[in-house]
């Protein structure tokens, strides 16, 4: 069982996301430590990409802010190395296939292991293309996280059957971003997942309020929040860490409430 799966060990997990280097890596590191202090079970670190096609405007803009500050993939690895001295929370990269491919898939994953990463999420890597990246992940002991979407239907069994770490359930159609309402029949999706794997599953896309986070984690094993946090970073810039910490606490409390 991987460190990621262990993080779920009988409890609901909150997985906050942050775009690395927005507005700089020092702020990212402070925010991550605040997240951990306030109950985050796993942290998702976005490596910025110039053209993030699965993201809504909030995270798109964060990617561009980070890149215009000159952040590179190597800088992000350095930050994780530093972060690892201060926390052992499971860490998962979220980025796009070209960032990994152009770096050299093998070298990227070797670095992931060296700096102490636990998992990798590639939103533009569907099941059909997974084997291009999966062997290098396996070799380095990095969980390649699979996603399922409201449109996955009969694909769920196959995807869940091969899943590692946790399954990322995309709550709604469309790109990342805050939504006032989530209408997908997530309960049915989760049941299908449960029939095919023991791997925990967490729901993301569109979640921002404590109530949504609570509801989502009741029907699954946890909730993932990105845009709402990135918005806080955008609003508070280099002073964002305490605001992020406060927000993470609010969400964690809601997830742990009965």
């Amino acid at each position: 069982m991987s460190r990621i799966s262990e993080a779920f060990n009988g409890k609901k997990v909150f997985i906050p996301f942050i775009t690395c280097g927005d507005p700089d890596l020092k702020t990212t590191e402070e925010c991550v430590l605040q997240m951990v202090k306030n109950g985050a079970g796993i942290v998702e670190l976005g490596i910025p990409f110039s053209d993030p096609t699965a993201e809504g405007p909030v995270i798109q803009e964060a990617n561009l802010r980070a890149l215009s500050g000159g952040i590179t993939t190597d800088d992000v690895f350095d930050m994780v190395r530093s972060l690892r001295k201060k926390t052992d929370v499971p860490l998962v990269f979220m980025t796009y296939v070209n960032v990994v491919f152009s770096y050299g898939t093998k070298k990227f994953l070797e670095n992931c292991r060296d700096v102490g990463m636990d998992g990798l999420i590639l939103p533009d890597l569907p099941y059909e293309e997974k084997e291009e990246f999966a062997p290098a992940c396996r070799e380095q002991g990095i969980d390649l996280i699979s996603l399922i979407a409201p449109t996955s239907n009969e694909r769920i069994a196959r995807i869940a059957g091969d899943a590692e770490g946790f399954l990322y359930i995309v709550s709604s159609l469309g790109v990342t971003g805050v939504r006032s309402e989530i209408t997908t029949d997530l309960g049915a999706m989760v049941s299908l997942v449960r029939e095919n794997t023991d791997i925990p599953c967490a729901i993301g896309f569109g979640i921002s309020t404590p109530k949504q986070a609570h509801d989502m984690s009741q029907i699954s094993d946890g909730a993932i929040i990105g845009s709402a946090i990135v918005r806080l970073v955008a609003a508070h810039g280099r002073d964002a860490a305490p605001f992020v910490g406060e927000y993470v606490k609010e969400i964690t409390d809601a997830i742990n409430a009965d």
Partner: protein, 396 residues
């Protein structure tokens, strides 16, 4: 040349979010069914011939041939198609397919506006809703085409993210498709994106080379020695090449937009300056930095201003079957003016890139050799921009 599903050599594939997977699978199944359906093909052929003005002329450019003093030059006149470019071939095919699939709404990206106009046209014809995503920068460069699309009943959405050009319009159209799949078909405009798009678009554009082959056989009784076309994503080029790929005596030459030159950053010459990557659903060559960040490309031509190239072209480059040459803004503008003055044909600035390379190549060839240049579109849309390039300010 596909080795496995959706692959051209190592290129192609389906690198897209899970949300879209069933949509592309549904599209592939529908296409596999209808491409062999006689009724579908009859309907498409009627649309081509009676609506889009096919077959397009293969015109012997006598004055140009004599002026350059080498090979005989023929022009494949895709500029004479309805809506003024080759884009209509693909759009009629995809719109008809979408209609058969029960879709009621078409979305599309556009660079110069030609594909957007073609999609809006097909949507009007077939009674479908239409939304076109266009980089804000391009809406300014091609204001007339924005008006055309609106006139045809389409919504044009200016894209302000990234460099606000074609690649951002593709990204935005993909995002839109992710959010609304049931009733919507993404009518991709070039041989780009995830499988099955590069194959579908190529098949609908292959009518160009099919006609060239038959028309030249009738006029000259033989194959051409070279076929030259401009390449952005590469749909008119693959259409012009396709039926000659298995004829090794025919040189296939794709002309990339070099912008201000391939030694600087202001270029869109993907094969000449890019490296292999994965973006917009496909593995292919892309202009990108050492960390895989997609480069902001530049060309005077909004239609070639794209940081990637279709995967089949990438494979034709790898195998050496086709050549990809850079052509600068300055050379393209010279050729734009040259063809206008020499033959009375104003080519699209995109197509002028192909004319520019033919001007260099023809004099090196024998008088009994034959070049076919695909004039992918007409140049009316470019007149104001070229005038500005030459320092003349005119109102459209």
């Amino acid at each position: 040349m596909s080795e496995k599903k959706g692959r051209f050599g190592i290129h192609g594939g389906q690198y897209i979010p899970e949300t879209l997977m069933n949509a592309v699978i549904e599209l592939e199944e529908a296409y596999d069914h209808y491409k062999n359906d006689p009724d579908f093909n009859q309907e498409l052929s009627t649309l081509f011939n009676e609506y889009a003005n096919r077959p397009s002329l293969l015109y012997y450019a006598k004055k140009m041939s004599e002026d350059l003093g080498g090979a005989k030059i023929y022009l494949k006149r895709e500029d004479l198609n309805h809506t003024g470019a080759h884009k209509i071939n693909n759009v009629l095919g995809q719109a008809l397919l979408a209609k058969k699939m029960g879709k009621t709404r078409l979305i599309a990206e556009t660079g110069a506006g030609q594909h957007g106009v073609a999609t809006a046209t097909a949507a009007a014809l077939m009674g479908m809703e239409c939304v076109v995503f266009m980089g804000e920068e391009d809406t300014k460069r091609q204001a007339l085409n924005v008006y055309r699309m609106r006139l045809l009943g389409a919504d044009v959405i200016p894209v302000t993210t990234g460099t606000a050009t074609l690649k951002d319009a593709v990204s935005e159209a993909m995002r839109e498709w992710t959010s609304r799949i049931d009733d919507t078909h993404y009518c991709l405009g070039s041989v780009l994106g995830p499988h099955p798009f590069p194959t579908i678009v190529r098949d609908f554009q292959a009518v160009i080379s099919k006609e060239i082959k038959a028309q030249l056989m009738e006029k000259e009784g033989r194959l051409p020695d070279a076929v030259i076309a401009c390449v952005g994503g590469g749909s008119n080029a693959i259409g012009s090449f396709y039926h000659f790929i298995d004829d090794p005596s025919v040189r296939l030459i794709g002309c990339e937009a070099a912008g201000r030159g391939i030694d600087g950053f202001e270029t869109a010459a993907t094969i000449n300056t890019g490296k292999i990557g994965i973006f917009h659903g496909m593995k292919s060559y892309f202009c990108q930095d050492e960390y895989g960040q997609i480069a902001p490309v530049y060309s005077i031509s909004a239609g070639l201003d794209y940081p990637g190239i279709g995967p089949e072209h990438a494979a034709l480059h790898d195998s050496g079957r086709a050549e990809y040459v850079p052509v600068t803004d300055e050379e393209a503008v010279d050729a734009f003016e040259y063809l206008s003055k020499t033959e009375g044909i104003i080519p699209a600035i995109e197509s002028a890139h192909a004319v520019a390379y033919a001007k260099k190549l023809a004099p090196q060839m024998d008088k009994n050799e034959i070049i076919v240049i695909t004039i992918s579109g007409r140049g009316d849309k470019d007149c104001a921009a070229i005038a500005r390039y030459r320092g003349e300010d005119i109102n459209e």
